[in-house]
């Protein structure tokens, strides 16, 4: 594969309500900031990918409304309605297809609509929607299936929330940096058994942008490039009942192909840091199992053992993860940006020393219907 790299990136601060900004404003801000970060101008950008969702924006073909704020005037622009990691995947394909560069920008303002209504509307209107299924109750079912299968405890899930909210205290962009205890997580209000309030990510407003370039653009950019070593995605069935919720099959497939592409044989040893899509606390261990970073059923012990802590052998979500900031669609792109910053050595107070290989994970669809895995390297 021709060499491509992430050469610039930017994120807004994640907040519950950005009253002073339209989504158009956020897109403009992160587009400008990503160009500035890369030391490039719009003339260096050959094409644009926007990432948005019509229901979240309350507008049909809402992507049409942000093109100019994304710098797309006179440029080739296209849209992905999915997680930002999938938008970036499309962007990478376009660079591999002959463009020098792609700017990928994702936005969402969960504060403007009704996230429960919008996530209920994701499900089948004949069989599932009338029963009230939404992102949270679907996740609760998955958590119940996963915890029951392997005897993983609610305490082990709570440890993930404590770790990631704690990590977020070192990330000035995080929405919910918190110093909390396992007991506080366990005592927080029951949302949908076994999920408590502090097992669930907040709904955030935010936007993020990154620039993917070929070698020419990587040389021109002022940043240290985060080279794309491997990338793959995979999806499974739409109906939850057609899947084994405790076994993330699509994630295993995507990870296997991304590792193969990156030449990774022993991911546990070769990956220095991982940013994964922990929309709910149980998801971090479940996704780590799917990523082959531990055996099935062993994910629950990783936080307790300290392996995934900031100073552990495999730090996971040093940024605070999705538990600490969850702008829908943006959150996967944020994982990829965080991974690129770790490679650059520019993750600030949550930088892990000596990162050579970083993994970023995004997911889309309820209970991880589809997954996109990125492996970034410093050379």
């Amino acid at each position: 594969m021709e060499k491509i790299a992430i050469v610039g990136a930017a994120q807004t601060k994640y907040e519950s309500r950005k009253a002073d900004q339209t989504f158009y404003d956020m897109v403009f801000d992160v587009t400008t900031a990503a160009l500035e970060d890369a030391g490039l101008t719009l003339a260096d950008i050959d094409n644009i990918i926007t990432v948005s969702n019509d229901f979240l924006d309350g507008r049909t073909i809402s992507s049409m409304a942000v093109g100019e704020a994304a710098g797309a005037h006179d440029k080739n622009i296209s849209t992905v309605e999915g997680d930002g990691t999938f938008g970036a995947f499309y962007g990478a394909m376009r660079v591999l297809g002959g463009f020098r560069s792609t700017l990928v920008v994702a936005h969402s303002k969960g504060s403007e609509g009704n996230p429960q209504f919008i996530s209920n509307a994701m499900f089948d209107p004949i069989y599932h929607r009338p029963l009230g299924l939404d992102t949270t109750s679907a996740a609760a079912l998955q958590a119940n299936a996963y915890l029951t299968r392997y005897g993983i405890t609610e305490e082990q899930c709570a440890q993930v929330a404590v770790k990631n909210h704690g990590n977020a205290r070192h990330n000035p962009l995080a929405h919910q940096p918190l110093e909390i205890s396992v007991e506080e997580v366990l005592r927080s209000p029951k949302v949908a058994d076994p999920l408590k309030l502090l097992d669930c990510s907040p709904v955030s407003d935010g936007a993020a942008a990154l620039i993917i370039g070929n070698e020419e653009i990587a040389r021109k950019a002022k940043t240290k490039p985060a080279w794309v070593k491997g990338v793959a995605h995979c999806a499974e069935e739409y109906f939850l009942g057609d899947r084994d919720l405790a076994n993330p099959k699509a994630l295993r497939d995507a990870a296997k192909r991304a590792y193969q592409m990156a030449g990774i044989r022993d991911p546990r040893r070769e990956i220095d840091v991982a940013e994964v899509y922990d929309a709910f606390s149980y998801m971090e261990p479940l996704w780590l199992e799917g990523l082959g970073l531990c055996d099935p059923g062993q994910g629950g012990q990783l936080t307790e053992s300290g392996l995934t802590a900031m100073n552990g052998a495999l730090p996971v979500n040093p940024s605070g993860g999705v538990l600490s900031a969850h702008a829908l669609l943006v959150a996967g792109l944020a994982r990829l940006i965080e991974a690129s910053l770790q490679i650059r050595g520019e993750a600030g107070a949550h930088q892990i020393p000596g990162v050579k290989t970083a993994l970023a994970h995004g997911t889309h669809g309820p209970c991880g219907q589809s997954h996109c895995i990125w492996i970034l390297g410093e050379s």
């Binding site: 009253a19 002073d20 309350g58 429960q116 209504f117 209920n120 209107p125 004949i126 069989y127 599932h128 929607r129 009338p130 029963l131 009230g132 299924l133 939404d134 949270t136 109750s137 609760a140 079912l141 998955q142 958590a143 119940n144 299936a145 029951t148 209000p189 029951k190 949302v191 949908a192 058994d193 076994p194 999920l195 069935e237 109906f239 939850l240 009942g241 057609d242 919720l245």
Partner: protein, 161 residues
């Protein structure tokens, strides 16, 4: 420029009405509930798996399906969640009382998993592995939708645990 007062705009309260086709097999599924108080699934000629509700395609094999299989109104709880936040039923506009229990139920004779409400909200009285039975509305009240199944009820409580 001094910071202006920040205004917002509220969307007009109009719905976005749809009339979704339920399809041939979906229609059969609801008609079978009304006529016989039982379910119907569909078997894949290639992998042999029975899926419910019935649909035209086996996603795994990408084979067109046509062999409908009657299924009893009984099954086993595979996973469940007791939900503690309100839900506005889009069909009635009414708020469902909380808590309610959403169940992931393997119907006897099916290979995939069906989902519906289980009428047990006491966490000490519900467990994965319990047997459940569908409780239907009286046939005269059925409307050909998923609410023709009122809920599932637990039929066997394992004692001595």
């Amino acid at each position: 420029m001094s910071a202006p007062e920040l205004l917002t705009m509220t969307s007009p309260d109009v719905g976005m009405p749809y009339e979704w086709s339920i399809g041939i097999y979906g229609s059969k599924f609801f008609q079978e509930i009304r006529a016989h108080q039982r379910f119907v699934g569909i078997r894949c000629p290639q992998c042999g798996k029975v899926r419910v509700p019935p649909r035209r395609v086996c996603g795994t094999c990408f084979r067109e399906l046509d062999e409908l299989v009657p299924l009893p109104p009984t099954g086993t709880i595979i996973a469940f969640t007791i939900v503690n936040y309100p839900f506005i039923d889009p069909a009635t506009g009414l708020e469902r009382p909380v808590p309610y229990t959403y169940g992931y139920i393997q119907l006897d004779g099916a290979d995939n998993i069906f989902s519906h409400i289980i009428n047990e909200t006491d966490e000490t009285r519900i467990k994965v592995g319990m047997r459940v039975r569908a409780v239907f509305k009286p046939a005269a009240e059925m409307q050909g939708n998923i609410q023709d199944i009122r809920h599932f009820e637990i039929i066997e409580v394992k004692h001595g645990e």
